[in-house]
């Protein structure tokens, strides 16, 4: 079987962004393998992020899609003040590169900006950083096994949820 092409990688990342931006969370979760590692490290100092999620703090660390389903449930429950009304977000993804891969696996890096309009407080924020993806071919589809988000502006204005990174 052929390896993943860059345009296929872009297609996958752009689709993921669209699903988050339009709050189609079930379809979004379906892009992940059940054992996904979803990781946004914290910063250890001015120049380095933390690297060992077991010994150092992350902003977000989940092993298993099950935990992301919890996050989505909370977001959509109507029971979280911070999540309702939901902020309006748009992700812009660029600089997509294939960094490794074979017939069944691929690694992709990209950069993102996420613009968030917090309707509750009438304020606009922009979060930006880098993505590192590991993908795996399952039957015909490429699924996300690992998503690492390096958030560069990490002084969090009140809240950053999984939808604005």
């Amino acid at each position: 079987m052929a390896t993943l092409t860059r345009s296929q990688a872009e297609e996958l990342l752009f689709r993921e962004a669209l699903l988050i931006d339009t709050r189609r969370y079930d379809e979004w979760l379906a892009m992940f393998t059940p054992d996904i590692e979803f990781w946004m490290p914290a910063w250890r100092n001015e120049t380095e992020t933390t690297t060992d999620p077991d010994r150092e703090l992350s902003l977000i660390y989940y092993k298993g899609r099950r935990n992301l389903e919890d996050r989505v449930m909370r977001l959509t429950s109507g029971l979280s003040t911070a999540s309702s009304p939901p902020p309006r977000v748009v992700h812009v993804i660029s600089n997509v590169l294939l960094t490794a891969g074979d017939a069944d696996t691929a690694e992709v890096s990209a950069v993102f900006t996420c613009h968030r309009f917090d309707v509750r407080m009438n304020r606009t924020e922009c979060f930006f950083g880098r993505y590192e993806y590991a993908l795996r071919r399952e039957s015909e589809a490429w699924l996300i096994v690992r998503k690492k988000i390096v958030l560069l502006n990490d002084v969090i204005p009140t809240v950053v949820d999984i939808t604005s990174i």
């Binding site: 946004m40 490290p41 914290a42 910063w43 250890r44 100092n45 001015e46 933390t50 999620p53 077991d54 010994r55 150092e56 703090l57 992350s58 902003l59 977000i60 660390y61 989940y62 092993k63 298993g64 099950r66 935990n67 919890d70 996050r71 449930m73 909370r74 429950s77 029971l79 979280s80 003040t81 911070a82 999540s83 509750r120 407080m121 990490d154 002084v155 969090i156 204005p157 009140t158 809240v159 950053v160 949820d161 990174i165």
Partner: protein, 445 residues
């Protein structure tokens, strides 16, 4: 600047009245006076000794608006300085932490050793300075009072303060409960998380001690916990909350309560029990042996501690150290860390970190529902039809002088205490904050 404190805090214990005026959270003059009199005029928490463990290590922080450098010299002695060059005032150390035998000011290269002494004034001989200048000390300005209580470092920009021991008083025993979880003391897990919120700093002060909000502000988190409780998959992030009935509405009997202390220190607490859901569980036996069962049990209690005005240590789902930094009446910065006993096992550390991220982070599932509520309050404070808030009245008839059978177990003598079932949710513990506030804000300069 003198503040008429009665205009902000209506404290009439004999009549059963305690009210706080909304203006205390929004007035510019109040904020200026708080900075001058509380944050820059008395003891504030600066950091942990563990943040600068080796010779020449340093870290930076703030006392109110004043940048502070905490520096260890070559002999291992810690000192605190204003992080500002005596030449023209530039901030000297540029990073949150580091190691420096010498700090060289980036502006005109004046330099200082790790004991804060002037090392060189660039081109001093050629500078045609007056004799008066040459006689002056060109070292860093030391913070007038700087003390270390069991690894917790405090400083005061005013020299006119009680000793740290007097300032902490009995509340020091609650810091012991943190420090004594390991023979080596406590450390900060690498990875600091900073967030801001657009509301007054005292909202954070209060919320840490607020038992009343949990089931109201965090129902989405509670629902997640309930969902996890129904599964025993190794994949889900385990939390102590799902193993505890402490916070549940239907729980009967005394489940916890509050203690308040002079100078505005406050604890609210609940019984979790000695459960494997708490990362400290691996040390339960050894801690009982070392410190006795009473103190060991207290280490396993849910505890939210405030050392007035800017330090909070929350031990519930995990363990968090927070430093409150007011920026304006309507803007606050929180610097937060996972605090942990040194030397704990890999498994316990992992459990502590996972619980922490989920509960405490501004990217997690609980804290945002708090901070957004603070912002809602700040918006609401503009309403002055009735300026007096009604949120300081629960527990009024339950509050007693001194301690109770629980504080007796560790020989702790608070000024006041409340024993509570899950629905009492004492609000009188805030009185300690505002009484300390009024004491510091009123009176002579």
């Amino acid at each position: 600047m003198s503040i008429d404190t009665a205009a902000y805090v209506d404290d009439r214990p004999d009549e059963g009245i305690f009210r706080v005026n909304r203006a205390i959270f929004t007035d510019e003059q109040v904020f200026e006076a708080e900075m001058a009199r509380i944050f820059e005029g008395g003891w504030v928490f600066l950091g942990l000794e563990a943040q600068a463990p080796a010779p020449h290590d340093f870290f930076t922080t703030f006392a109110g608006r004043v940048p502070i450098l905490v520096q260890r010299d070559g002999e291992g002695q810690l000192r605190a300085f204003v992080n500002s060059c005596p030449h023209k005032g530039a901030r000297l150390a540029q990073t949150q932490s580091g190691n420096a035998r010498l700090h060289v000011c980036p502006y005109h290269s004046w330099s200082f050793d790790s004991a804060g002494r002037s090392k060189a004034v660039k081109w001093q001989k050629a500078g045609c300075y007056s004799a008066a200048f040459d006689q002056q000390d060109h070292g860093l300005a030391a913070v007038p009072c700087f003390e270390n209580y069991r690894g917790f470092l405090f400083g005061s920009l005013s020299a006119d303060v009680p000793s740290l021991a007097d300032y902490l008083g009995e509340a020091a025993k609650l810091l012991d409960l943190v420090a004594d979880q390991s023979e080596e003391g406590a450390e900060l897990v690498p990875g600091q998380v900073t967030f801001t919120y657009q509301a007054n700093w005292k909202l954070q002060l209060e919320n840490c001690s607020d038992a009343y909000h949990f089931t109201s502000a965090h129902p989405s988190y509670i629902r997640v916990l309930e969902r996890r409780q129904q599964e025993t998959s190794g994949e889900v992030v385990a939390s102590v909350w799902e193993n505890s009935d402490y916070w549940k509405e239907e729980t009967q009997g005394v489940g916890g309560g509050s203690y308040s202390f002079p100078n505005g220190h406050v604890l609210n607490w609940g019984v979790f029990g000695i459960t494997p859901a708490i990362p400290l569980y691996e040390s339960a036996a050894v801690l009982a042996e070392r410190h006795g069962e009473g103190k060991r049990d207290w280490m396993f209690n849910m505890r939210n501690l405030t050392i007035f005005p800017n330090l909070q240590v929350a031990e519930n789902a995990s363990s968090q150290l927070r430093v409150i930094r007011p920026i304006g009446p309507g803007l606050t910065e929180m610097r937060t860390w996972c605090i942990a006993p040194k030397g704990e096992s890999d498994a316990a550390r992992r459990q502590r970190i996972r619980q922490y991220e989920d509960f405490f982070n501004p990217t997690g599932m609980a804290t945002p529902d708090d901070t957004v509520s603070y912002e809602n309050c700040q918006i609401g404070y503009a309403g002055r039809v009735d300026p007096w808030l009604q949120g300081y009245a629960r527990g009024m008839t339950a509050s007693v002088e001194g301690g109770n059978r629980f504080s007796d177990r560790i020989g702790l003598t608070p000024a006041r205490s409340v024993l509570a079932d899950s629905q009492l949710c004492d609000e009188t513990l805030y009185h300690a904050y505002y009484r300390a506030w009024a004491e510091r804000m009123g009176g002579a300069e």
